[in-house]
Symmetry: C2
Subunit: 244 residues, 2 copies
């Protein structure tokens, strides 16, 4: 069996996340339908991560196992003719049989876009979180460095999650401004449920003075969900890079 | 009666253009609903232009006449709370009673976005026309200058139109590249039905060598729709500026 690693991009606005679920359209289901049309059978599509409803991906990786003798460029082309406009395959390569898009992953990068203009912009409503009060990106960039390191991120995890090990290592993070857009970028070995969105809500709390300068480390160490900020809305979140 | 001039922006993806019509959702209808909620009666909303289905507006002007004593900033705020996320009011001011958003207009500017990357981008599918073969923006910029001037643009008008006077004055136009995006900008005293989209299709013909360098003026003077290019799709088109 060949193990094909596919890299895709998707606009998640219309989907209830990656994972197949009953009564709601997922990226995985739509992708499996396209795979079935190209490979003439319903193959198992393994993804690198769950994503929430309305969350986007600039880079998402998945594998498909097949016996079909079709070259990688042909797979990209054929799948793109079967996929809707909001999902695109950008690369395909063959990997070893034991490669798993989730477990072989060394780190992941997310970005979160906050539209910080003085007026609501209708073109960004599904692609960024609109926050109207001025954000000082340089200040938030300095404060956010407290996220870097290995911590028990239990306080930055949705209460609905039943994950036992809540220790994660954040390798890098930054806040930068690009015109009216403020972008938070974070790289870690893994992320808890809603972790990036709670990090962003916490940065908003810092901006609003609800968490003082230098206090973020204490908030993390408290492992107390109540001390972190609100969960920022999903449409600003993009899975940005998967490192193998 | 006060005559209020409102400036709005909209993502036209979900709408069948500006103008109210039966059995299809229009920006005007949605806007009139919001106006009715704020002003407590169904007021006439006069727009500056028709726009086609799926066409966007970075700037669109309209007027509403009212006796209500509400300040302009209050109108902006109140309407924005009633409008969906894909329509936003960005400004409001009071104008003279005889001001008409369509007839008082001196010129209009449109832009047309062509996504010219090597791979389809799902985030641009509703916001640009995807054309994969390389476009030489500098070459097209030089060639497009032939559009500037006063011409009978009959050959750049959809056959369905019944407008009698097809003479229009193009004041300025340009083609420029911004990364993978190629943007055509055009300013004129007015535009015929599908005129900008046919101009873009004609630029594509020039890029493909179907129209030779320097031949564009002849194509315009021929007044023959067959000699111009195909009508480019609507999602790349943005009404960009209204000059009064």
């Amino acid at each position: 069996m060949r193990n094909l690693l596919l890299t895709i991009m998707y606009d998640g606005s219309q989907y209830h996340g990656w994972q197949v679920q009953k009564n709601a359209l997922s990226v995985q289901e739509v992708f499996q339908d396209a795979v079935e049309k190209v490979f003439k059978r319903r193959l198992d599509v393994k993804g690198c991560s769950r994503t929430d409803s309305k969350v986007h991906a600039n880079m998402y990786c998945l594998t498909v196992k097949t016996d079909m003798n079709i070259d990688c460029q042909g797979v990209v082309w054929a799948l793109n003719t079967k996929l809707p406009d909001d999902i695109a395959v950008i690369d395909c390569c063959e990997v070893s049989d034991d490669f798993h898009p989730r477990y072989s992953c060394k780190s992941k990068e997310y970005i979160y876009k906050i539209y910080n203009g003085s007026v609501r912009n209708p073109f960004f409503s599904k692609y960024a979180f609109y926050y109207r009060y001025n954000l000082d990106a340089d200040y938030l960039n300095r404060e956010c460095k407290a996220f870097i390191g290995t911590y028990d991120y239990k306080g930055f995890c949705c209460a609905k999650s039943d994950v036992e090990d809540t220790v994660r290592t954040v390798y890098d993070c930054e806040v930068r401004r690009d015109g009216d857009m403020v972008i938070f970028r974070v790289v870690a070995d893994g992320f808890l449920y809603n972790m990036v969105r709670i990090m962003v809500g916490t940065l908003i709390f810092i901006s609003e003075g609800k968490i003082a300068s230098g206090e973020l480390r204490d908030v993390i160490l408290s492992k107390n969900r109540i001390r972190a900020g609100r969960t920022a809305p999903p449409q600003g979140l993009y899975l940005n890079k998967i490192n193998y």
